[in-house]
Assembly symmetry: C2
Homo-oligomer: 312 residues x 2
């Protein structure tokens, strides 16, 4: 198994990425290899500084980097030797089994769709985020920004792929799928949610529990929270601002601790033909370590194959 | 001045409403009269229990009540003698200068539009909520649920009425108006926000500061936060769930204290031809007291007349 990691992506790259890879290495089984993609002239001294045997990793040397502010499509096409472009190229060729980066999210989405392509039958791949639940455990929210405008059938597909991720990677049995809405009643909603509700109700591919509200993000009502990418992105950023507020105010609490994105790795891209994970721009070594473990779990559970089978 | 209050609406009615009216009475100036609309057989014993001189209030006796779960349009038309229907009828006739209720929100919206009507030129009246700002002071978010689907010109109008409310009732000079979006850059967004952005940029009736994100709800970027009612409702309920979480966890903090909706009264309905306030279903005496003071402020500042003038 080859787990690809972009060493150049993220605000704290390459140091945080290298440290994360070292931490992950200790937790991987034999046969689970990390492939570092980036400027080896920068990586190697960091490894020796940390006294880490460089033979534990594989390397792909790249010299270009896609910056955080670059235009995704332009960057991917104009920087074929960037760590992100090279990573996706290796993923496409089957030389990697997964690819993760904390770099330019847009370029990661574009790279995923351009290289390994969308799973046949999937209308729009999406981006997920893991959310902590008050009573313990985790939930999954999707889409959180890849698709600002969604049609009802796209939301139904988010329910299918989200349910598969929750069941296989998060080990939630028969995950409860809820549709974000402005009321719990069946007839509540905007045009999109009103049109989506009956389609979800009729869908036999997941356990639809009905509409949920903004206040239900952290409770036990749903394990998989489906919404369009506009709504999901705004909810995610609002929730993050609360977490940051509690940190700044020094409010210690077990639940708020679990809010820390570092513990979950990154945001999986679902609906493309390989495991792809997009990390937070500010990914720390812990976040990078967890992105690698999350990549490993997406590979070993055969999530992509299960998604492909669901849309056959 | 006659400030109308529905004594029968809300989960803790009529006790909380009567107590709130008594508390408000102490703070009103001579000439600012509270008119209690509801079952006087229930109101009068409560007043004497509390040792309050009933002559301080005016009364309109009603015998029907619209329940929280009733269908708004049906309830308004089928219960003409309910406190909400009677209140709006008096408002329409000019026998009240404002009307506030913590009862069925849908019936309040429908009643407002049916009775005093939408301000000429306004496409859709909307519902606002007051949000605390981290650095102190308050902001206004609209729409928070009256209009699940909005067109770009409707959002522009929310900017105008929101700005007028912030300036006149909240005393914020030249309020900064932000459009909720998934990125700060001009070209970010879903179809609605992309179409709205240039219209807001060109609008000379408010101080548009551009796109803001989910994380900006509580910071200083914008005083008036404009979004469609679907997004606003979900943000509001998510924010409320955080507030409730901090209460349950016993996390004391000055900012979280200011989250308490009780301090702000209720949600003003903007874009109808009279001041109308919809209270939270769980309105306490403090919340009711503040709804009354908020009603008074909407009357004395001539907010409705200013909105009418802006759309002439």
């Amino acid at each position: 198994m080859k787990i690809g990691l972009d060493i150049m992506g993220g605000d704290y790259a390459p140091e945080a990425n290298v440290s994360g890879a070292i931490a992950a290495h200790q937790l991987l089984s034999p046969g689970e290899h990390i492939v570092l993609i980036g400027d080896t002239h920068q990586i190697k001294p960091l490894l020796s500084e940390k006294g880490f045997n460089p033979d534990h990793f594989e390397y792909v040397h790249t010299e270009e980097v896609i910056g955080m502010g670059e235009h995704p499509t332009r960057a991917i096409s104009q920087k074929p030797n960037s760590s992100i472009s090279v990573g996706f190229n290796l993923l496409k060729q089957g030389k990697l089994d997964s690819f993760a980066s904390a770099g330019n999210s847009g370029a990661m989405m574009v790279g995923a769709v351009f290289s390994v392509k969308t799973v046949p039958g999937i209308i729009r791949p999406c981006l997920c985020t893991i959310v902590p639940k008050l009573a313990g455990g985790m939930g999954l929210m999707l889409d959180v920004g890849a698709n600002a405008d969604c049609k009802p059938d796209v939301l139904v597909q988010f329910g299918i792929v989200g349910s598969l991720y929750a069941e296989n990677v998060m080990h939630i049995s028969n995950p409860k799928v809820g549709l974000i809405n402005i009321g719990e009643e069946d007839e509540k909603g905007n045009m999109l949610s009103l049109a989506t509700f009956p389609l979800m109700k009729d869908c036999s591919q997941f356990n639809f529990i009905g509409n949920i509200e903004g206040r239900d993000l952290f409770n036990e009502k749903a394990d998989v929270i489906v919404c369009d990418g506009f709504t999901g992105n705004i909810m995610l950023k609002l929730a993050e601002s609360f977490y940051i507020m509690t940190i700044k105010k020094g409010l210690k609490d077990e639940f708020f601790d679990r809010f820390n994105y570092e513990n979950y790795g990154g945001s999986p891209v679902l609906g493309v033909n390989a495991p792809v994970i997009i990390g937070h721009g500010i990914s720390s070594p812990t976040a990078v370590k967890n992105m690698i473990l999350q990549s490993r779990d997406m590979i070993t559970t055969g999530l992509v194959e299960k998604i492909q089978a669901a849309f056959k």
